[in-house]
Subunit: 336 residues, 2 copies
């Protein structure tokens, strides 16, 4: 454990909206943490305006920067003076204890890899986050974007790192680790998941392959996946959360008077109705309509699936697909 004050190097140039939000955050931040705003000092000063710079905030000059649009590799060639590298260098030299960047993930990962360097034994760093929900406990999810496609060996590394993170961050002494897959059965997952599953067998706390439901539950403390899948999962989680929050608001607005339990249930139902997906999946590409719903489908789900199937028949979904491929075969190109 570190004692004394913590110093954080804050990349002031990386974000989509420039230094504005970073400056705002820094000025509002309690002074129990020392902040190093890294960026073009003139630009930072400009955003500071007439406001005085609190004693716990210092400016660290970095003439260049890497934007979201830049190729991550830009950080390694030409931009040696970039705020990303300067921030990383500050951590490497001990000037700062940590770096924070709102910028280009790929560039940040690269900057950290070249300046902070990797932990010996780690082939691929991973980005981790913690998902939490009411009664769902907290779950470390990694990788959420440091990698794209992950080799089985990398997934094992992620698991080891995730365990350490869950211990240090969540205080879970013996974290349970799951490998994110499309189901629990051993037959699930792609080659990478199946190989990683075998390799993970010796990892203490490994519970096996899990599905996305389990990540947002109290079944595991750590969920391991590749950066591509992690990115999709996290963004889906966040966007759904936003949409649901909006739905909740409109639901609440639509009710007057005090909200008793009945009303609360109505709110819940309204939120679900506003966002609920199909109660089944339509199998496209076969000569006939086929709807598949969850094994755990309720009567309500199944009724919805039947309605869905009937709709597909009336709309002649199969005919449309068949026609499209007939055209494709004739013209030997894709039919829109």
């Amino acid at each position: 454990m570190k004692s004394g004050r913590t110093a954080v190097a804050l990349d002031g140039m990386g974000g989509d909206q420039g230094p504005g939000p970073v400056m705002e955050a820094a000025l509002d931040f309690p002074d129990d943490v020392d902040l190093m705003l890294v960026g073009s000092v003139p630009v930072l000063r400009e955003h500071l305006g007439s406001r005085p710079l609190p004693g716990h905030i210092t400016l660290l000059d970095a003439p260049e920067s890497v934007s979201m649009a830049d190729d991550p590799l830009a950080v390694t060639w030409g931009r040696r003076g970039s705020s990303l590298l300067v921030a990383a260098q500050a951590v490497r030299t001990g000037l700062a204890d940590a770096m924070v960047t709102p910028g280009n993930t790929g560039a940040a990962v690269l900057a950290a890899a070249v300046r902070l360097r990797r932990v010996p034994g780690v082939r691929n760093p991973a980005l981790a986050t913690v998902l939490r929900g009411p009664g769902a406990g907290q779950t470390v999810l990694l990788d959420i974007g440091a990698t794209v496609v992950a080799q089985p060996e990398w997934l094992v590394e992620f698991a080891v790192m995730g365990v350490q993170y869950a211990r240090a961050r969540l205080g879970v002494p013996h974290p349970r680790v799951g490998l994110l897959s499309n189901g629990h059965e051993v037959t699930k997952g792609g080659p990478a998941q199946r190989d990683a599953h075998l390799m993970l067998a010796t990892l203490p706390g490994y519970v096996g392959q899990i599905e996305a439901y389990d990540v947002l539950s109290d079944r595991v403390d750590v969920a391991v996946t590749d950066g591509f899948t992690g990115d999709v999962m996290l963004k889906t989680y966040e966007r759904t959360l936003d949409l649901t929050a909006l739905a909740a608001v409109s639901a609440v607005r639509s009710f007057s008077g005090s909200l008793a339990d009945r009303r609360a249930r109505q709110v819940s139902q309204a939120v679900r109705d506003a966002l609920a997906a199909d109660s089944g999946g339509v199998l496209l590409g076969v000569r006939g309509v086929c709807v598949v719903c969850h094994g755990a489908a309720t009567a309500h789900d199944i009724a919805g699936a039947v309605r869905l199937a009937a709709d597909c028949v009336r709309a002649d979904v199969t005919g449309g697909v068949t026609a499209a491929f007939a055209v494709a075969r004739r013209t030997d190109r894709i039919a829109g």
Copy 2:
């Protein structure tokens, strides 16, 4: 378009809870659709109990069944009398217009492929669903589980099928198609996405690579991905929706009196607070703490990321990871 009555073959045996929910759904279903309950007739009768069988419901005997636990291949060997195959056969022979199963997805896909057969030109059928949200429009998402790893060519097929589905089901004349990836830039995605992206260039309505946020927005009408990623995205969406709905309820319960706009905002905030993920990702595996947040991070997000970074320093996350890999190197095995 089909005219006249629609007949749906309903697999009564596939679900986790047996025929109960299916029977319930069938009996409650309006009689504008003919239903064929497929399964062991004695078992179905038992679940029917003393209730009379409405005229629009018939029982179709299938002595065998395929459970969720079964290897999907079970449907092709030995279980020729399974409710899945009998239901598919009913559609093939025209006895039914559609089949619905709450069962084993892999087996259902296989049963449909062997009995209904694939549309000529389609190498791989795909499962599609529609996601919708307030102001987010509706988006067809496929594949959600008919495949696992998808070849680029398959993704192109999915796109073509998705376009047809969006037209037929959502009535969108010229659907916009996106390829689900981890970002918009051409450099994003894995090999499969990058190759598919090039192949999709000629598809009318193709807008390029999209991220999960875009799927739950009005930017596209069709989102194309492999079955593994689609499964993760859909389950994340559904689970987050449930958690958020619960959060909304508790939020509403916690307020008394009438809910004005201010209260509504409080509900929204409570919902977000209850489920919000970290405002940044912690990069594990480098010699130092590095938190990366979204390029679009707000001041609030960045302040959270700074706090997160400080917490990681105090908890010595890096030391934990470093130690674990030191052990791993010494003992040449994974340290939990």
